[in-house]
């Protein structure tokens, strides 16, 4: 292990290290903690320029109450879920198939199709902005969650295919050959042999895509408008416009918007990190 394990170093070094950890963490998360602090302050603290001190009163309940009962935030949150979850399902479904096709079969254009997915995944998505917006308008899906979901599925398929294909490549090919010798049709090989083995990849990918989509702002702005279809990232800006300069509410709103992916990360940490590294490496 590098660097040298701290437990093999002098006691003083160990103590210093253990003391530095929380300090470093506080510094690192400082801005975030500040927001959390803001979100439980009463408004008066801001007018009294008590920005960074202890809250004079705990107003968290009120502030979060405002967010949940006196704004469009619940709708935005709902929208985010209604956008994110179908996208995750769609991506996983499409990319396990494309990944399977590209990972298992040898055919001439295999590598080129694969590269197309990879390259598409890295395209600056701004270049898609105008045509995709027009397409969505033409399909009558502008300002609908469906429109957003369809695009997200399509765009994320690039990344997911890269991920799935690499994962499937790493599976022992003998498993497929064994199945073929046993006379199992290709579709059933996919369904009964490969898909169950892809569970970890699917888990990792789901968490990852969940976060990506949840946090998407650009496309939310380009393809939707208004509380009936916008996700929370875009919603938070309107929310903030609504409560401009009401820092305690903006903070509470931000915390609420950030919470689901954070919760997701904590619950599925292992998969999340596996996703980050596995997808790209290999």
């Amino acid at each position: 292990m590098f660097p040298k394990p701290i437990e093999k170093q002098p006691r003083a070094a160990q103590i210093t290290y253990k003391a530095m950890l929380p300090v470093a963490l506080l510094l690192w998360l400082g801005p975030l903690l500040a927001v959390a602090l803001f979100s439980i302050k009463p408004e008066a603290d801001f007018t009294n320029a008590n920005y960074w001190g202890m809250p004079s009163r705990f107003e968290g309940a009120f502030n979060y109450g405002q967010v949940f009962f006196n704004s469009d935030m619940p709708r935005y949150l709902m929208n985010s879920f209604l956008i994110t979850i179908p996208t995750v399902l769609g991506c996983v479904a499409l990319s396990s198939m494309t990944g399977f096709a590209l990972g298992i079969y040898k055919f001439k254009s295999n590598i080129w199709i694969f590269f197309m997915f990879v390259a598409g995944n890295f395209v600056p998505f701004q270049i898609l902005m105008v045509p995709v917006r027009d397409l969505t308008l033409e399909l009558g899906l502008y300002n609908t969650k469906t429109g957003l979901v369809l695009f997200h599925i399509a765009f994320q398929t690039g990344f997911c295919t890269l991920f799935m294909r690499n994962f499937i490549r790493a599976l022992p090919f003998e498993l497929i050959e064994a199945a073929r010798v046993e006379g199992i049709s290709e579709w059933r090989i996919f369904w009964y042999v490969v898909l169950p083995l892809m569970k970890p990849a699917i888990a990792a990918l789901s968490v990852l895509i969940f976060t990506f989509i949840w946090n998407d702002y650009f496309w939310a702005v380009v393809l939707t408008q208004g509380a009936e279809s916008q996700p929370v990232t875009a919603g938070i800006t309107s929310f903030n416009a609504q409560f401009r300069a009401a820092y305690q509410l903006m903070s509470a709103g931000s915390i609420v918007a950030a919470l689901p992916p954070v919760a997701m990360f904590f619950l599925m940490q292992k998969h999340f990190i596996a996703g980050l590294t596995l997808g790209a490496v290999k």
Partner: protein, 400 residues
């Protein structure tokens, strides 16, 4: 209206009145309308004001509402040109509107047709802290010299004269409107907006020179480029700045922030060039029917309803929008700012009434110029460079 009782179907209304007070007002008004038309199913969507500006072009082509708010003058031109707004000249031919809304007809007219109706307008002017003025022994100025000397005293007292937040640029447009209209007059200003005058014209430079005078003396708060107009309010509330050149909608938040009517007052922007007539900014907010609307009949009825005298009186009163009604039959609320503003616009604005810079100038020019104004306000010494750049922009934009 008896005929209106038969209205049926769905009426979708998009609003940009996202701040809490206006939002409540509009929703109440729509409820009232709904009560009159039980057969109509009304769906109201309120979109954040800033977001609305970018989204309008989308919803005009897809997922189109039946009624949408927007702004008068050049600001509606792209949509008129693209055929996305319904020609409502027929409404304007109805006497109830023709007679009572005459003063705003010009702002609603493009190519000789009218494309919507106004529902409110409001004066611009200088809102100031009367208590601080009193404390410093200042009185409302009327000339540029007085303005400057007042300001000098304020600056000497450790305050800024004007608060402003230029993060979203348009507030600087207000300053430019006034300085240029006061320096070169309304007509010149409109010509400039129409691209007929070079930005490197000496007269424009004079406007900037006047502006620079204020900047150089430290009249504006620092760091205004990082604030929105709301974020700039606390400076005035806290007494770090004494005045705010703003539309009347600023009054409500100032009051909310705890300033009493004794502490705030209003004066008309001072004259600079005695040779030009005073002209004012009075932006008009409007309702339009998108060309793709489904229920135009109900939409027209709604427009009639909005501009009707009672509704105008109601929605513009101090407790609601706190602005001026567009209908001559309506009464202006007893609110002192509304009265002063109404007074000012109707009797002391001989030069004309402008909509506002970003509504009078084409979008692209507005954007480029307001960015220039912001830069100028931060770096007044760059004036020549900025103007040269704007001139280049002008040549390109109006050329197309």
């Amino acid at each position: 209206a008896p005929a209106a009782a038969e209205l049926t179907g769905e009426l979708r209304i998009f609003l940009d009145t996202s701040n809490p007070a206006p939002r409540a007002t509009m929703e109440a008004m729509i409820d009232q309308f709904a009560a009159q038309h039980p057969g109509l199913e009304i769906e109201t969507t309120v979109i954040d004001r800033e977001a609305y500006k970018t989204q309008i072009r989308n919803f005009l082509t897809a997922d189109t509402p039946d009624v949408a708010t927007w702004y008068a003058a050049n600001r509606m031109k792209p949509y008129v040109d693209a055929g996305l707004f319904e020609d409502v000249s027929d409404l304007w031919a109805e006497p109830a509107i023709a007679d009572n809304l005459a003063s705003t007809k010009g702002a609603m007219t493009i190519d000789g047709k009218q494309w919507g109706v106004p529902y409110t307008y409001y004066q611009w002017g200088v809102y100031y802290r009367k208590d601080i003025f009193d404390e410093l022994g200042l009185s409302e100025p009327t000339t540029w010299e007085e303005e400057i000397s007042n300001c000098q005293k304020i600056v000497d007292s450790g305050r800024a004269c004007y608060t402003i937040g230029t993060k979203f640029l348009w507030t600087a447009g207000g300053w430019f409107d006034y300085l240029n209209m006061r320096t070169n007059g309304f007509d010149f200003h409109q010509q400039l907006a129409n691209g007929e005058i070079s930005w490197e014209d000496d007269r424009v430079k004079q406007t900037f020179a006047n502006w620079k005078q204020l900047i150089d003396m430290g009249a504006f708060i620092d760091n205004h480029q990082t604030y929105s107009w709301q974020e700039a309010l606390p400076f005035m509330v806290n007494g770090d700045a004494t005045a705010y050149l703003m539309g009347n909608f600023a009054v409500a938040p100032l009051r909310e922030a705890g300033l009493s009517d004794d502490q705030i007052d209003f004066y008309q922007f001072v004259a600079i060039n005695p040779d030009v007539e005073l002209a004012e900014d009075a932006p008009t907010d409007t309702f339009h029917i998108p060309a793709n609307a489904a229920n135009k009949e109900a939409a027209r009825e709604f427009l009639r309803f909005v501009v009707s005298p009672d509704v105008q009186t109601e929605i513009n009163n101090g407790a609601n929008l706190g602005q001026l009604p567009v209908n001559a039959q309506s009464s202006v609320d007893s609110d002192k700012f509304l009265n002063q503003g109404f007074e000012m616009l109707s009797s002391n604005s001989p030069g004309g009434v402008a909509q506002f810079w970003d509504r009078d100038a084409p979008a692209e020019m507005a954007k480029a110029s307001m960015e220039g104004f912001q830069e100028f306000m931060v770096k007044p010494d760059n004036a020549d460079r900025i103007l040269a750049k704007l001139e280049r922009a002008r040549q390109r934009i109006y050329d197309n």
